[in-house]
């Protein structure tokens, strides 16, 4: 794979990831927003990556968990990257694991009367998804398939269209008849986040978020002088745990103001350390000699070559991932798009 091919693949992967994060943020609005009061419905709870406990198996972390009131809920996966038969088969298997009584709801007993299961797919791949899921016969609970597409009128909207099944929540059955439009301008710029429960598609994405949004907040913090290539540089101390906590609160769709034990800490610490390791690999920092969570990053906000493209180029040149060392071939995510231009 050439550097340009690698760069394109990284950008495409990051784009798809961002759109997944965006879709989750917009689903909250689609499912919980009250158009009359112009506020989120008080009785409605929405979480991403929430730890749900089945009766006799390990905890699950669905992309979306919605509780509409004391009785009904919805558990589902956002699969915008899925495009092939095998992808949808895997999605079906995952969603089947949600097709049982789950504990972890926002009630005293942490259980509710009933929930339905859902899958959200890219509008461009709704055909194979519908073929796979059929009428949802594979599930005991009511199943819905939603497709998502960015559409443009005078404004940008994320359109969710109900393709299979019915909402058990009556008000949503009307709202999604047959689709609902979420204005990105109203919703996304308020819900603007960078991470969801799925790991980022490449370390460059996390590097970019750290560099652009987090390191700047460390100005005035602990620094040291180090020598790199016979040049003295100032390095800022970055603690992966502190970075994780900051990004979780500010930039994660799983973030919440209250520390909820069932909410995962996203981004996960290993995503952060992977990105920090890559800063070391491209010559922009050093690992701390004693504390494995601490890194010293050569951070200058005015430095050039510090956006996503630049980081991708530097990673390609210094520490290319295995998949970039293959012979030129179609990137598995190459054909993925979300939107109708």
């Amino acid at each position: 794979m050439t550097e340009e091919e690698y760069l394109s693949a990284v950008k495409r992967r990051c784009d798809t990831y961002e759109r997944t994060v965006q879709a989750i943020g917009c689903l909250k609005s689609a499912l919980c927003w009250d158009d009359e009061t112009r506020m989120y419905r008080e009785e409605c709870k929405f979480a991403s990556g929430r730890r749900m406990t089945p009766i006799d198996s390990d905890d699950l972390t669905p992309d979306i968990v919605v509780q509409f009131g004391p009785e009904h809920g919805l558990v589902g996966e956002v699969k915008l990257t899925a495009s092939s038969e095998i992808d949808f088969e895997n999605a079906e298997t995952q969603i089947k694991s949600y097709d049982q009584d789950l504990c972890g709801w926002w009630t005293d007993s942490e259980t509710i009367h009933d929930h339905q299961v859902a899958c959200v797919v890219d509008d461009a791949h709704v055909g194979p998804a519908m073929r796979r899921f059929g009428a949802g016969e594979a599930f005991d609970r009511a199943f819905i398939l939603l497709s998502a597409a960015v559409i443009r009128a005078a404004s940008e909207f994320l359109k969710f269209e109900l393709r299979i099944g019915m909402f058990i929540e009556e008000r949503l059955a009307t709202k999604f008849d047959p689709n609902t439009l979420i204005p990105l301008e109203r919703v996304w710029i308020i819900e603007e986040k960078k991470f969801c429960d799925d790991p980022p598609p490449c370390p460059e994405y996390t590097m970019y978020v750290l560099w652009f949004y987090y390191f700047l907040t460390l100005r005035g913090g602990e620094t040291r002088l180090a020598r790199h290539d016979d040049v003295q540089v100032e390095q800022v101390r970055v603690d992966a745990l502190e970075a994780r906590d900051f990004l979780h609160q500010a930039f994660s769709v799983c973030g919440s103001a209250d520390a909820e034990p069932r909410q995962p800490s996203v981004p996960r610490k290993d995503w952060i350390t992977e990105a920090l390791d890559h800063f070391v690999a491209i010559g922009r920092g050093d690992a701390d000699a004693t504390n494995p969570d601490v890194f010293w990053i050569t951070y200058n906000p005015a430095a050039h070559a510090t956006d996503l493209d630049d980081f991708a180029r530097q990673v390609y040149r210094n520490c290319p991932p295995e998949w970039a060392q293959d012979e030129p071939r179609e990137d598995p995510q190459q054909s993925l798009t979300l939107g109708e231009n």
């Binding site: 109203r186 710029i189 996503l308 231009n341």
Partner: protein, 377 residues
């Protein structure tokens, strides 16, 4: 007000540069001076959160020597400021200026006023003010604002609108030639047009006013004359009082309002890292094609002292912008035909956001700042 002490410090005895007790007293003295001894006053609208002593210090750092005296309420200061420059040919220019708070006790708006020659105004005081950024910044006014103020000025001066003449203007306009490397051009024109005719012509060219000179005569003498620049420089040759009411007061209000609109917008822990977005809204659908989206990206990329990452260009625009001057960051989206959406991020300042607004207004199109809550109540 002038004293031996004042003379000793190099402050002139002229009443203009006395340490006036209040801005309104200073205005009275300026009005009288313009009628009697002074040929022309230049005034610059400044934005700063600093107190007056801090402000004079900040401005002084952009000069070779400076001294300042503030009044008791810290609302008026007289500044003596000098600058030396040039290697082969050495220049030294010195002069005086008044600094006064405009718009009340906690207003971020200040006026710097001087009757000094252009060399002092631009190369000494102007240099010092420009080098005081971000402690001191300049506003950015729109063509529509300037038109409204000059129309009000004609009324305040009891001059019929067609007797208020535009005698010169500098205009920013778009270069239509697609092969051109730069996007905009500046044209300078010496002319004689009525106010309405001039602004209609500007509008027809889809141009923006950079500077505009105006005058009106009554009974064979100038009743109002001066110039206005979109970044807040105002020249006054005649008609101080009507200019104060019709131009300086709304200038102050607009600058103060916009400064407050852009203040306190960072995503910070105290507010749960909530976004505080705002819009730059245009009066017509500017983003009805991919071409204008691409042009906005070019305009953002041409903004001095910034770095940027284009995250999306189509179907919608998402650019991350970092301002190197103040180390602030924001995300810029285009998600509708008529608005740019700015989402300030983890570090933000009103001056950096004003600089962004000013750059977009000048290089792309003139819009208005609107808060998210105004649009999506």
């Amino acid at each position: 007000m002038a004293s031996a002490d004042q003379q000793q410090m190099g402050f002139p005895e002229a009443p203009l540069y006395a340490v006036h007790a209040s801005p309104s007293e200073a205005f009275g003295v300026l009005a009288r001076a313009l009628e009697t001894t002074v040929e022309r006053l230049r005034l610059r609208v400044l934005l700063s959160k600093l107190s007056l002593p801090e402000l004079t210090d900040a401005i002084g750092r952009g000069s070779t020597t400076s001294k300042a005296r503030c009044n008791a309420t810290h609302s008026v200061a007289v500044l003596r400021i000098a600058r030396e420059w040039g290697r082969t040919e050495r220049h030294r220019v010195a002069g005086h200026a008044l600094l006064m708070r405009a718009g009340g006790e906690h207003s971020p708006v200040w006026f710097a006023v001087s009757d000094g020659p252009y060399a002092f105004w631009d190369s000494v005081l102007g240099h010092a003010l420009r080098h005081s950024y971000p402690h001191v910044s300049f506003p950015s006014y729109a063509t529509a604002d300037i038109r409204a103020w000059l129309t009000a000025l004609a009324h305040a001066a009891s001059v019929a609108p067609d007797r208020m003449r535009v005698t010169g203007m500098s205009l920013h306009s778009r270069i239509a030639d697609p092969t051109a490397e730069r996007q905009t051009q500046v044209g300078r024109l010496w002319t004689d047009l009525s106010l309405n005719f001039a602004f209609d012509a500007i509008s027809a060219q889809n141009a923006a006013v950079k500077k505009l000179q105006f005058q009106a005569e009554q009974n064979g003498r100038l009743s109002v004359a001066g110039h206005i620049v979109r970044d807040g420089e105002i020249g006054i040759q005649a008609g101080f009082e009507p200019l104060r009411r019709a131009v300086l007061e709304p200038c102050t209000d607009v600058a103060a309002h916009r400064f407050r609109q852009l203040d306190n917008r960072a995503r910070v822990r105290e507010y749960g890292f909530a976004t505080r977005p705002f819009f730059i809204e245009f009066p017509f659908p500017v983003f009805d094609s991919v071409t204008t989206q691409a042009r906005l990206i070019e305009v953002l990329q041409s903004m001095p002292q910034t770095s940027h990452a284009v995250m999306h260009a189509n179907p919608y625009v998402h650019v991350s912008l970092f301002d190197r001057l103040e180390e602030t960051n924001c995300d810029i989206y285009v998600l509708s035909d008529t608005r740019i959406c700015v989402v300030p991020q983890t570090r933000s300042s009103p001056t950096a956001l004003s600089r962004l607004f000013s750059h977009i207004s000048t290089e792309f199109a003139e819009g208005e700042v609107r808060d998210y809550a105004e649009v999506y109540r």
